[in-house]
């Protein structure tokens, strides 16, 4: 059994305080979650769940939450998109060290998905880079497995939310294949 560390963000059916669901969540076996209720109408749960696999850990957690709150809709799974601070936490080092590492590996380090006032990366790409570089990171395989599940889920949801124009799709398909 490994310990999988992930967060689930749900939107509630109404703009209400999620504190009323605490007992239902506990009774639905979310006693390994930290329930974050600061945003009205939303619910974020930080899990550290022992499980044989990341997909089983995350799937059972989602089932538990939906058992407690049937109309809550899962909007996002973390970890997926990260900044310098989150990379530093995973590497157990300072933010300054991460900045130096990125600057001194600017050609091979993954391109940020957002690069304005701050930079953000898909964590899965950063983890793959750690693997390629054979960096010694605690629990790298476990974090990788969790992040991969999160990336695929979020990507699937995001694609569903885009109304695909057939013409645009064929142009993009051609570009991607060449």
């Amino acid at each position: 059994m490994n310990k999988y560390d992930f967060a689930l963000t749900f939107k509630l059916a109404e703009e209400i305080d999620s504190e009323i669901y605490l007992d239902a969540l506990y009774e639905a076996e979310c006693d390994d979650a930290s329930v974050c209720m600061g945003k009205i109408g939303w619910l974020e749960l930080d899990f550290i769940r022992s499980s044989p696999s990341a997909s089983e850990a995350i799937e059972t957690a989602i089932i538990s939450v939906n058992h407690a709150i049937p109309d809550a809709v899962l909007k996002h799974i973390s970890p997926d998109i990260v900044g310098i601070a989150e990379i530093a936490t995973i590497m157990n080092c300072s933010r300054q060290y991460v900045r130096q590492m990125i600057n001194s590996n600017s050609y091979t380090f993954p391109n940020p998905i957002y690069n304005q006032s701050k930079s953000l990366w898909h964590l899965i790409e950063v983890l793959r880079w750690f693997k390629d570089q054979k960096r010694d990171i605690d629990n790298l395989d476990i974090i990788f497995e969790t992040t991969k599940f999160a990336r695929i889920y979020n990507n699937t949801i995001n694609s569903k939310n885009i109304d695909v124009d057939i013409n645009v799709k064929s142009v993009i398909d051609n570009l991607v294949h060449t």
């Binding site: 310990k3 963000t9 504190e19 009323i20 605490l22 007992d23 506990y26 009774e27 006693d31 390994d32 930290s34 329930v35 974050c36 209720m37 600061g38 945003k39 939303w42 974020e44 930080d46 550290i48 022992s50 601070a85 936490t89």
Partner: protein, 85 residues
């Protein structure tokens, strides 16, 4: 009416609570849950910080793994954008 939750039965969680309090977090009883030991609230309640979701967090009386739960408390406190260094 804010009610003091008293002491958490687990020693690691008590230490994490002390750390959070030293950074301005407050702990009060939940009026809506019997399984929650307390609700921890951030002094700043800043919606710019982690979308505001982590300004108010539950702590159960008997979490599945108290050590993990304590580690999450440290992480939530350290992740606050207004935390005094």
């Amino acid at each position: 009416m804010k009610q003091n939750p008293g002491k958490h039965p687990n020693k690691e969680i008590r230490a994490a609570v002390k750390y959070a309090e030293s950074h301005g977090w407050t702990f009060e009883k939940s009026g809506k849950s019997s399984h929650a030991w307390a609700i921890m609230k951030c002094l700043y309640n800043d919606e710019q910080c982690r979308c505001g979701s982590r300004c108010k967090i539950s702590i159960y009386l008997t979490p599945r793994c108290p050590q993990d739960r304590a580690a999450q408390i440290y992480r939530d406190v350290d992740g606050c954008i207004n935390k005094d260094e």
